[in-house]
Amino acid sequence: MRPSAFYIMRTILEKEFRQIFRNPTILRMIIVMPIFQLILIPLAADYEIKNINITIVDQDHSSYSRQLLHKIDASKYFIVRTLMPDFEHALNNVEQNVSDLILTIPNHFEQQLIRENKATLQVSADGVNGTKAGLGSAYLSMIINDFNREIRESLVQLPRRSDFPQVEIYSSLWYNPFVRYPLFMVPGILALLVTMVGALMCSLNIVHEKEIGTMEQLNVTPMKKYQFILGKLIPFWILGLLTITLGLVAGFLVYHIVSIGSLWTIYLFSAVYLFAALGVGLLLSTLVDNQLQATLFSFFIMMFFVMMGGLYTPLESMPHWAQILADGNPVSYFIRVLRAIIIKGSTLGDLWKDMRAMIIIAIVLNSLAILNYRKRMG
């Protein structure tokens, strides 16, 4: 009555799938999570700088200052919140989080510009939000420069061929010309979701088996360790692919995101990545005793890998040591690859280096996990 490996695998998989589909929490997670995250986060994640609140302190009250005010008002970037008599009051606005920028037009501004050929304006930005402050003051400078040019042109008849060499810059954005942030966020979130299925959910499942004591029962049977492991990994591998599918559909329905690159490439990379994520989940399950620990541990790992993976900040801005870590981080490859395929239409040929790295990482992780499993859960 020597059972065949195939028969045993079938028996195991049947049981695993039954349990998964009977567990409402898992089902909810698989379905609710992608929908929730994909809909919520890109909606919220609009980094475009608009509606910057600016308080203006006009101590000049000249026609120039009024012109400038007008110009700023007309800009789509700024909302001119208030005019304040002095800097103190304007600062109050910033303290109250009502204003992001303060423009101070000093007394005699117009006079100085005309008579002395130059004048100064002061911009104070709320440095708490660095990005907003930086970009806000940059935009304001742009407007002021423009304003400067208008004044200059009105005062001086410049020859058609200017005496001043100027470099004209034309910039354009490829693949995402309308700067749609969902396009940027959705692949990243997809990567996060798949990671959760692999690392968090799979490890929870295995640890649950440990907790209720059935693991021991299974160890006494002729079932081999590799069969047990496969029995745990395969269902979640399939679930992970299902999640990606749901995610892509949600991305399409809600944000009209259509992948430029081939869907097969997406699935291929997802399949390989899932192996890596599941390897992490397996490794994790050998290191914890109960589900709570598994949750905290995987949350910790996920936060680390996702933050270091370029979801939120670009990889190239990281210091050297961090970039080396990122080279071993499967998430960084996956996020990059997903973005490349969906937004730029990259092919497998373009990304073979990333594929190679992901395969290696997946093998290493799973080997570590299996070794540890043998050692600790025999």
Binding site: V128, G130, N148, F164, V167, W174, T313, A322
Partner: protein, 371 residues
């Protein structure tokens, strides 16, 4: 007197429970430390050695000097020098460059004779933020170059703009994420840990026993929360310590006020945890609700990762009922702007109200179990 010591026994027992689970404790304490260190030392929005391609259709002295400038700058690294534009798409797709600069033919000529040279910047739109930052850096380099060309000739009627950054002159991103990490950790600790701890007791069946004991059920439930309150507070101290002494992010306002408002927020999260535990019977569900239902939206709506004012109106409204939004604002106000109670009393009041609300709900749900 008798009752007091009885609750003490309970609290003590809960403490031992918590301390016994070393691994969970470790990850709870390690999480904020890890995030602080990462945010402080590894993550930024800076552009450094970004790979760019230069398509030089001019190939004269000026352009060579220009390209040299790009290479010299710490922001960029000229990864590819090309002569035509055919390869640009491929390079982007392979992720090898972030920007492509096209210098049109006769650049130097045009510059010298027509006083107009043209440069085209193409950025990889798949990461719009970095693209815009990189583009603006590149434009700055070009402007510098242009100013050098002008040399002594100054444009008449020039307006100079002096820019000053308030509160955070070096634009350190630390000012933003420290409050964010605090918010995240406290939410995790307070809500998830408390609810899981209570629900686990429910699962094992001992909750019924506890509730049936002569002690006021409220005390039973609260004694479960107290160890996590202390743990959370400890975490706050650790985070602030790292912020001030390791990352050089000073606390501008009153430390006492900061700690007090943190305690207030901790109670809010605990009351949330109690509420969650009152509506579910299984650990898995409690964890699921805490993570997906609570932590995620808490992060999204807090204003930490994404600016609230950019969100669609309805999301802005929703963010008002998310406690993290108010705590995040409080911490920023105290830590970074050095403001006092007069500026944050409104937020504190809201948090207090939420605490009261969830506590009441939780207690209501626990009461019938007595009957």
């Amino acid at each position: 007197m008798k009752f007091r010591s009885k609750s003490f026994v309970f609290i003590f027992k809960e403490f031992k429970h918590v301390l016994r689970d070393r691994r969970s404790l470790f990850f709870l304490m390690a999480q904020p430390v890890m995030m602080m260190l990462l945010f402080g030392f590894a993550l930024s929005n800076e552009v450094k050695e970004s790979n760019i391609a230069v398509i030089d259709q001019s190939n004269d002295l000026e352009t060579i000097k220009l390209i040299d400038r790009f290479e010299q700058s710490k922001y960029f690294h000229v990864a590819e020098r090309l002569t035509n534009t055919n390869e640009i798409d491929r390079l982007f797709r392979q992720g090898r460059i972030r920007l492509a600069i096209i210098i049109h033919s006769n650049f130097a000529n045009n510059l010298n004779h027509l006083n107009q040279g043209q440069i085209q910047i193409i950025a990889d739109g798949s990461d719009p933020n970095t693209a815009s930052i990189a583009t603006s850096y590149l434009s700055a380099i070009l402007r510098d170059y242009q100013n050098e060309l002008l040399g002594d000739k100054k444009l008449p009627y020039s307006i100079a703009v002096e820019t000053r950054m308030l509160y955070n002159p070096q634009l350190k991103s630390a000012f933003n994420f420290v409050p964010g990490v605090m918010t995240l950790i406290l939410m995790l600790l307070g809500a998830m840990m408390t609810s899981v701890s209570i629900v686990r007791e429910k699962e094992q069946g001992s909750m019924e026993l506890l509730l049936a004991s002569p002690i006021n059920p409220i005390r039973v439930v609260i004694s479960k929360a107290i160890p996590y309150l202390l743990l959370a507070f400890l975490n706050v101290v650790i985070i602030l310590f790292i912020a001030v002494f390791v990352l050089n992010v000073p606390i501008q306002g009153s430390v006492f006020l900061l700690l007090m408002s943190s305690l207030l927020f901790i109670s809010t999260t605990l009351s949330l945890g109690l509420f969650i535990s009152s509506v579910t019977e299984q650990q898995q569900v409690a964890m699921f609700i805490s993570l997906i239902g609570l932590l995620m939206p808490a992060l999204v709506f807090s204003g930490f990762m994404f600016p609230i004012e950019n969100m669609p109106k309805i999301m802005q409204i929703i963010s008002n009922i998310v406690p993290t939004r108010w705590y995040y604002a409080i911490v920023r106000a105290i830590m970074i702007k050095g403001l006092g109670l007069s500026s944050i009393w409104k937020e504190c009041l809201i948090l207090a109200g939420m605490t009261f609300f969830f506590m009441t709900l939780a207690i209501k749900k626990f009461k019938p179990r007595l009957q």
